[in-house]
Symmetry: D2
Subunit: 134 residues, 4 copies
């Protein structure tokens, strides 16, 4: 699933490029829209007391992103079971489709007290379906 | 009351200076330490169901702050009553005491449901005392 | 001129609402798109050595913004001359058009060394034209 | 090498814990102070046209950090050669020394145009010395 965002001034640092931690914010944008497209907004999940805290993040930075560029965020599920969900991301510059970064986040499935809570079967199915069709 | 912080890379933007919104984070650092020095950490206040949401922020930017500079954050109370609290801030470069920015934030006093809740007399007194002695 | 953005998790704080400094980022989004709609992206202006540093920011916070809400950013020019430009912003919740915040930023016109540099007449005209037509 | 920082409101998200991308900012704080303690502030390095862009970041999140907690950032060098530098970080809660997160960043050595530039022998030696003595 692909979405587009634009590099803001606040995203950049004095090296003139996007600061490295901000790619993790793009990852958040990607997975939020992936889940929405599967019919489960993360907000609604939390209202049903499903929380998906990040337990691991990884990013490889291939080339810098610059101010005002349009950025493509591609999100997919790499692995999913009742206890854990791994999203995989690729960040491209939109104009020339140059790959700028790629990475993943792993999420546990808990309740709001951070106690393990199995992901519902229906959610797993929907996310997998969504993943295959995109 | 004065505290010191250092400009991080993440604070800067591609103009090579600190991004304008980040001064409001320095304001937060300033008022948190002001309150702690008065014996009321903001965290404890919230645990007693006092919330102090910002209802107004203002900042005048006089000169840019650069990467790795030590910054002095000076915080004072300008006005306080049972319903409202105004903090005033001055941001200096530490080495030459050049004034970089100044501004204020106004805070309402509410409970965690954002309903008006009067500030306790004891807190007002302590903050005023603290303000006069620094 | 109006644009839309969505509240991210990273925008929120532990009070469950958007952190106050992040409204200034929405202001940046608003003025960047305003300028683009007038035919002058801020990026291109900087490439011609026009820099528009913020010299004042102001924001009144009327009601909190929550996670995942769609937010409308309305941007207009309030004052413009060769030396200074004031943008005015209103932030709404999209669903019910509730006004959440409003404020302004004042920008000087300088070159990249922060020396005063008069805004070109053509830019002033285009921005004013844009302002009236929206 | 260990430094201390305090969790700000702006670091937290609506789950009431520190947002995952902000650990990468703590990593930046850690490596900046590590380098300073070795006698090479990152700022000075850049003035000599050495840039050390992040090419990989990794973080494992073990337990959440909460508002107002004092956080210990422990930084060490895991690997260093003329072309690459790997910092390793551990994030603790200061009061009980609970491990909250750990991770690494890998940095290339380039000039300001992002062309490969070998790290000076003297810097490598100093950083290694610093690493062993702490």
């Amino acid at each position: 699933m692909k979405i587009t965002t634009r590099v803001l001034y606040k995203d950049t640092d004095r090296a003139g490029v996007v600061y490295y931690a901000n790619y993790l914010i793009w990852f958040e944008m990607g997975r939020a829209e992936f889940m929405r497209s599967a019919g489960y907004s993360y907000d609604e999940l939390e209202k049903q007391d499903y929380v998906m805290p990040v337990i691991e993040s990884f990013c490889k930075y291939h080339a810098p992103a610059f101010y005002d560029e349009l950025i493509t965020i591609e999100t997919a599920i790499r692995e999913i079971n009742k206890y854990k969900l791994t999203f995989f991301y690729r960040i491209y510059r939109q104009t020339d489709e140059k790959l700028l970064a790629e990475g993943h986040t792993i999420h546990a499935s808990t309740d709001s007290h951070l106690k393990v809570r199995m992901l519902p079967e229906s959610l797993i199915n929907r996310l997998q379906h969504c993943n295959n069709s995109k």
